[in-house]
Symmetry: C2
């Protein structure tokens, strides 16, 4: 798939077919995610691949916006690892770039995905930390739910000329 097609047609997908994602596709998607830029090239990310239905039910209980997780074949919990940072304070940006790569790679594989937010909401951070036994310096940022799409949402442009300024505000 052309990179602009992926960029322009990726949408949040919340309904999935009952069909697994292959290990090979998932590996390619995680590799694409890890190719994201990061401050000082620190790559301060960790991934928990979740296929266990009890764990996915647990995710849905912590975050009501992740209700679709148990109905999808796989989710990926993306975490920042503060012990890997070179320049403190940039891990959210680094891991968000990695997530965006993941969503686009999934689109390129014909998969749908949705980014459900965790950090900075304290109750969600605490819930996911406990559910997945995360160590102290590993902070859950987002849960990416993934699978073959069972819906085709709108592809209309979000371009807004008024958001573009030239040389100053």
């Amino acid at each position: 798939m052309d990179v602009f097609e992926a960029l322009l047609t990726r949408r949040s997908i919340r309904k999935f077919e009952d069909k697994p994602v292959s290990d090979e596709d998932l590996k390619d998607i995680l590799e694409a995610s890890m190719m994201a830029p990061s401050a000082g090239n620190a790559q301060p990310w960790q991934f928990v691949v979740v296929t266990d239905k009890d764990k996915l039910e647990g995710c849905a209980k912590i975050n009501t916006y992740a209700q679709m997780a148990p109905k999808a074949p796989v989710s990926v919990l993306v975490c920042g690892d503060l012990s890997l940072e070179k320049y403190a304070g940039y891990w959210v940006q680094d891991c968000s770039a990695a997530i965006q790569n993941m969503l686009l790679a999934a689109r390129g594989k014909g998969l749908g995905s949705v980014w459900t937010g965790i950090y900075p909401l304290e109750d969600r951070v605490e819930g996911f930390t406990k559910l997945f036994h995360l160590p102290e310096k590993v902070i859950p940022l987002g849960l990416i739910v993934m699978g073959y799409p069972a819906q085709s949402p709108s592809s209309k442009s979000r371009f807004k000329e008024e958001r573009i300024h030239h040389n100053a505000w």
Copy 2:
């Protein structure tokens, strides 16, 4: 360009040819950026396209890691607009996804780019806010320097198996 080629071969480019970026390409890149997901689809971003050499010299003075900005044809200051947020606290993630889309779209156009960090460093936030007369609720997140690449950095994989966990830590 295939989306996986863009994902796997995008690298930070810090040396540029003396050749302008067309308005059409820049518009396509900004549109791709605005297609990023955001919490509640709030799209809480603003862009300042910078071609003025005095402003670009000013950027380099504020952030020593943006020294290449005055030597590139164009930079884009990506800002979060807190007045547009639906769910407070997610603007950094939203705008980081928009930036990552921008870098990949630039790659798809044969352009190189580098994401130079601003937020959360207070002196940089203050410097860019003053230089570009940003209003109170608009926070500069990163300056993306862009142009035709005059270097070809390594394309080796950053895949790390040990960063992947299964169902729990």
